[in-house]
């Protein structure tokens, strides 16, 4: 018999229940009130007194109303048919809901049970399988998806029967497996998995090494992220966090992109709904929406569901990684998730940690980031989850608990800076404070050398040094005045400006400039490096400024032109001519 409870207290979305049987931490229950069933999750148990967080508004909830426990934790349903879907934080299909406004207690099936899939078996009768083994394959939106043995099973199982190639619904039985103890499972295409538990049915998790191309120069060239890597983007509001995140999700070379809009603006999600079905994936030529899943729990949707939404997104990502796919997971913003934790901890009257966040915020963040990664599956194939989270630091101050604790665990740091944003130097990623730990990995060096040849990393490091040098000199010029420093100083300063304007700054709204292929990034960096390495002959600092402004303008026009087009080539010729006027020949 399922455990039942009665409401004994209500404070906003925290409800106290008196229960009549066993209850598990994080177990899901439904509270019945005025014809609605409100989903809630156990967050604290004290004898027969159980605290639950309700994923909905608790308006008009009364003492004595009944709750029914389900015996399972918050879980998602995983099967073919999820691509292009728009879910809320609890994996309800938003498109299946009726009406313009969300209705309390309206839960919809995340899967389409009537859709027919063409199934191809990958095992035969008598084969031995373990958890997450690939039993068969179906195709969805041109992606080869796997039907897998349940993630939760233990030990070795024997395939008793497997469906023949043909058309099936996700609810049809496609395989029967049996273990040594004579336990038999009939399997359809649906998996269920509790979102707060990491799915670890893989052989090993090596250090990631493969570049994940994003088309954003300040990332790919300067501080690259890798398949299976983790990164975070902190920034005060108005510094272009969302624009950068959308650019990455549009352009990244991934098979599946999952966007968790966690406590952010609804219009930003609408932008994705509106644009992605039209936009083309630059790598495959197909519609972006075909590879995208959106988890939309915007800021006005219930707080507890917001907290759950990042876990829902991560679990869906793990499902696709187990198929050997490259998944990119973006969460905007992890600060809103942490704030949801804070609201709940506050209502439970827990002793607060820094800035009233719960004490265990650092371990919660660390555990979450650790679920990303590049893995070798049990069958030797590789899959990855690259996770990039944004952080919205209160007051733009990076010394706050969420930013600090994220910095401890994420390997790439893209610091958005107010000052750069004010000067409209977009993307406003500070080139000096930001870092990628991956660029120091020998595994990465080996990979990138194989991909684009020797000399790349040394050019990148040279550019970074020049940027730092340029910043130092800019400070000196500010203090001493233009005339107070040697002309050489101006040359060094303008070389760093050249790198800034041509490599780092990129117009996310320009058709051509928005995405730069790795090949083109290589060309740009080569060009800029050559210009920086050259010796020039200037008499006055004014000449330096004029010369570099002209050079920057031409390089920018090149960035706006189709790569290697006539227009591009003619600008290039113009640039060569300009360089000849001041360059000292090395012959």
């Amino acid at each position: 018999m399922a455990t039942k409870g009665k409401v004994t207290g209500v404070i906003a979305n925290m409800v106290l229940l008196a229960v009549d049987g066993p209850v598990a931490q994080n177990e899901i229950c439904y509270i019945k009130t005025g014809g609605d069933r409100l989903m809630a999750e156990v967050i604290k148990i004290n004898g027969a007194k159980v605290y639950v967080q309700v994923f909905e508004s608790t308006r008009r909830l009364k003492i004595g109303e009944e709750a029914e426990f389900t015996g399972h934790m918050l879980e998602v349903s995983l099967a073919p048919g999820m691509l292009s879907k728009n879910y809320d934080g609890l994996q309800n299909d938003l498109d299946k809901m009726e009406g313009v406004f969300l209705k309390r207690g309206d839960y919809t099936n995340p899967l389409d049970e009537d859709r027919i899939w063409h199934f191809e078996p990958l095992v035969k009768e008598g084969d031995t399988v373990t958890a997450a083994a690939w039993l068969g394959a179906v195709e969805e939106n041109h992606q080869n998806l796997k039907i897998m043995a349940p993630f939760g099973i233990e030990g070795k199982w024997t395939v008793k029967s497997i469906a023949k190639a043909g058309d099936y619904r996700i609810t049809d039985t496609v395989a029967v497996i049996e273990n040594g103890q004579g336990e038999v499972k009939e399997l359809n295409m649906i998996q269920k998995w509790p979102v707060r538990v990491a799915m670890t049915d893989y052989r090993e998790k090596p250090r990631p090494f493969k570049l994940l191309e994003t088309g954003v120069r300040t990332i790919d060239t300067l501080n690259p992220i890798v398949e299976g890597g983790t990164g975070f983007i902190p920034g005060p509001f108005g510094t272009g966090k969302t624009v950068l995140q959308h650019a990455i999700s549009k352009q990244a070379e991934a098979d599946i992109v999952i966007i968790a809009a966690c406590g952010e603006r609804a219009n930003e999600v609408v932008e994705i709904f509106t644009e992605f079905p039209e936009l083309i994936d630059p790598h495959t030529g197909r519609k972006l929406m075909e590879r995208t899943i959106i988890i939309a729990n915007t800021s006005n949707m219930p707080v507890a569901a917001r907290e759950a939404s990042v876990y829902t997104a991560m679990t869906i990502a793990e499902y696709y990684r187990a198929m050997g796919l490259r998944v990119l997971l973006m969460a905007d913003s992890t600060s809103r998730w942490a704030q949801a934790l804070r609201e709940m901890s506050n209502r439970m009257e827990e002793l607060p940690g820094p800035d009233a966040f719960p004490m265990d915020i650092s371990s919660i963040i660390a555990n979450f980031y650790s679920r990303a990664g590049y893995v070798y599956l049990n069958n030797g194939e590789a899959g990855s989850i690259t996770f990039i989270g944004t952080v919205s630091p209160a007051g733009g101050n990076l010394k706050e608990p969420v930013t600090e604790n994220t910095k401890k665990v994420a390997r790439c740091f893209y610091a958005l800076e107010q000052d750069r944003a004010d000067k409209k130097r977009y993307p406003a990623v500070n080139p000096i404070d930001s870092y990628s730990k991956y660029i120091e990995y020998p595994e990465f060096a080996e990979y990138i050398t194989g991909r684009i040849g020797d000399g790349w990393l040394s050019m990148v490091n040279e550019a970074k040094t020049r940027l730092l040098r340029g910043k130092e000199i800019a400070e000196q010029i500010n203090i001493l005045g233009d005339d107070g420093v040697p002309v050489d100083y101006h040359v060094t300063f303008w070389k760093s400006e050249l790198i800034d304007y041509v490599v780092l700054q990129q117009d996310a709204f320009d058709e051509i400039d928005a995405v730069t292929s790795l090949e083109r990034q290589q060309e740009i960096l080569k060009n800029v490096t050559a210009m920086c390495r050259a010796e020039y002959d200037f008499d006055t600092f004014q000449e330096v400024t004029d010369f570099f402004k002209k050079a920057i303008n031409i390089c920018k026009q090149m960035n706006y032109s189709e790569f290697k087009s006539d227009k591009y080539n003619s600008f290039n010729a113009e640039l060569v001519k300009l360089l000849e006027t001041k360059q000292v020949s090395n012959d």
């Binding site: 009364k62 709904f273 915007t298 006005n300 233009d482």
Partner: protein, 438 residues
């Protein structure tokens, strides 16, 4: 009333604080309204048979044997066309001497719009102010606040924007507004002959602070009626949201909640988001646009209220007095409209985004030159030109007394570019330079 028979009356209050009182009661729903000694109150906590009520007016003068009546409903507003042209208090009762409004009774603070049912905002709201239309274009369905110090003319600019914008209804939500400002709005609306499309919900500094908490929900419930039922374009003005947040912190303090940054409740972000996210473009054509005011203390935007607001709203507008021209301008550095790219260059001329960015970049160069000048350094020829440009740009475009259409604004900017700079100093796509350079 049909529910009259079910009303339960209690007369024993156990504890009273400045804003709340608690009593033993049963069958009470969360969020439900009650009257305590005739004063309106709302259930904020139920623990066993102990119910805590937040008394909007404050608890002054309430005796422990006061009559407490539970009304069995959350706060409501009666909505119909009759709302137009009227002034109401925080409870939705008329304060203009007119009759009570008849219409459908709707609970305020209703559910959120399903994000997949929203439409992407795409209609420009022209205000004639170039600091807004040129640099920070507003779009229907947007939410944007003025970040302003209390001494700045934000209410006047907001009123200007409201009167010039082409909308079907303007709904003003006044929180902690001084009586003088209330009369300013009242006179302005009356004299403009625009009263029939304006609805006001007012909480002045003379009214109890906690009552303010109802104002945004009242205003937005009325807005939803006109935007959803009548497919109208509704502009909601909320001033001042900092006063609203102050009331939130008073209540959370009385409820013994652990304060987070700047003594604000930990739920401040969600509380503000619930209001601002009511801004929406409906597929049927109706829309709710929110322009709010968040007053700052000494220009500090890292304070919890402007900070959380900035993360919720789609940009913010800053006002600044420019001493070079002696006028108030819309600050081009700190102001931002996040939705501008949905219309600029699409609903306006194609060169709009690049012209806008180039002008702001040059304005930033002028700011650098100014710093150099203040530090006693010689200015280059470029610095001089940038400074002259900045002054004229400020006067002809950024000042809040400007009233032009966007094409005129672009032409004026190109004129200034040509007057002070060479094309390579402006960094704009060649095709635009060829077309518009004067």
């Amino acid at each position: 009333m049909a529910t009259e028979a079910f009303k339960k009356i209690y007369t024993k209050i156990n504890s009273i604080t400045k804003a709340t009182c608690s009593l033993k009661a049963s069958g009470v729903g969360y969020d439900e309204l009650a009257t305590v000694d005739g004063k309106l109150a709302q259930v904020v906590k139920i623990m066993g048979d102990e119910v805590t009520l937040q008394v909007f007016e404050g608890t002054g003068g309430i005796p422990t044997d006061a009559e407490v009546v539970f009304l069995g409903k959350a706060p409501t507003l009666k909505v119909s066309e009759q709302l137009a042209g009227r002034f109401f208090n925080a409870y939705g009762d008329p304060i203009d001497g007119g009759p009570a409004v008849e219409g459908q009774e709707v609970e305020i603070g209703g559910p959120s719009v399903n994000p997949v049912r929203r439409k992407q905002p795409s209609e420009l709201i022209a205000t004639g102010i170039a600091g807004i239309d040129l640099n920070n274009t507003l779009v229907t369905g947007q939410k944007i606040p003025f970040f302003a110090d209390p001494d700045q003319p934000y209410n006047q600019v907001m009123a200007n924007v409201a009167m010039r914008a082409e909308t079907d209804k303007i709904i003003l939500g006044g929180m902690g507004m001084t009586n003088d400002d209330y009369l300013y709005f009242k006179n302005l609306f009356t004299n403009a002959g625009a009263l029939d499309r304006i609805i006001s919900f007012m909480n002045t500094t003379e009214d109890p602070a906690v009552e303010r908490l109802l104002i945004p929900d009242m205003a937005l419930t009325a807005a939803e009626y006109f935007a959803v039922e009548k497919n109208e374009k509704v502009l909601v003005l909320l001033t001042d949201m900092t006063m609203y947040a102050d009331a939130l912190s008073i209540v959370s303090n009385r409820m013994d909640q652990i304060p987070s940054k700047d003594s604000m409740p930990g739920s401040l972000y969600s509380d503000l988001a619930k209001i601002y996210e009511k801004a929406v473009q409906f597929p049927a054509g109706g829309s709710i646009t929110i322009i709010a005011v968040t007053t700052l203390s000494g220009g500090d935007i890292t304070h919890a209220v402007p900070d959380n607001t900035g993360y919720i709203t789609e940009g913010q507008l800053f006002l600044r007095r420019d001493s070079d021209i002696g006028k108030v301008i819309v600050d081009p550095f700190r102001s931002l409209s996040r939705l501008k790219q949905l219309v600029s260059g699409k609903k306006t001329r194609k060169d709009h985004p690049q012209v806008m960015n180039a002008a702001v970049r040059l304005y930033a160069d002028a700011a650098n030159a100014k710093t150099k000048l203040e530090n006693g350094f010689d200015l280059t020829d470029y610095d001089q030109r940038a400074l002259s440009f900045a002054k004229e740009y400020s006067d002809k475009l950024l000042a809040i007394d400007v009233n032009l259409n966007t094409t005129e604004m672009l032409d004026v900017t190109w004129g200034l570019f040509s007057k002070y700079f060479k094309p390579e100093e402006v960094n704009i796509r060649q095709e635009f330079v060829e077309k518009y350079w004067k």
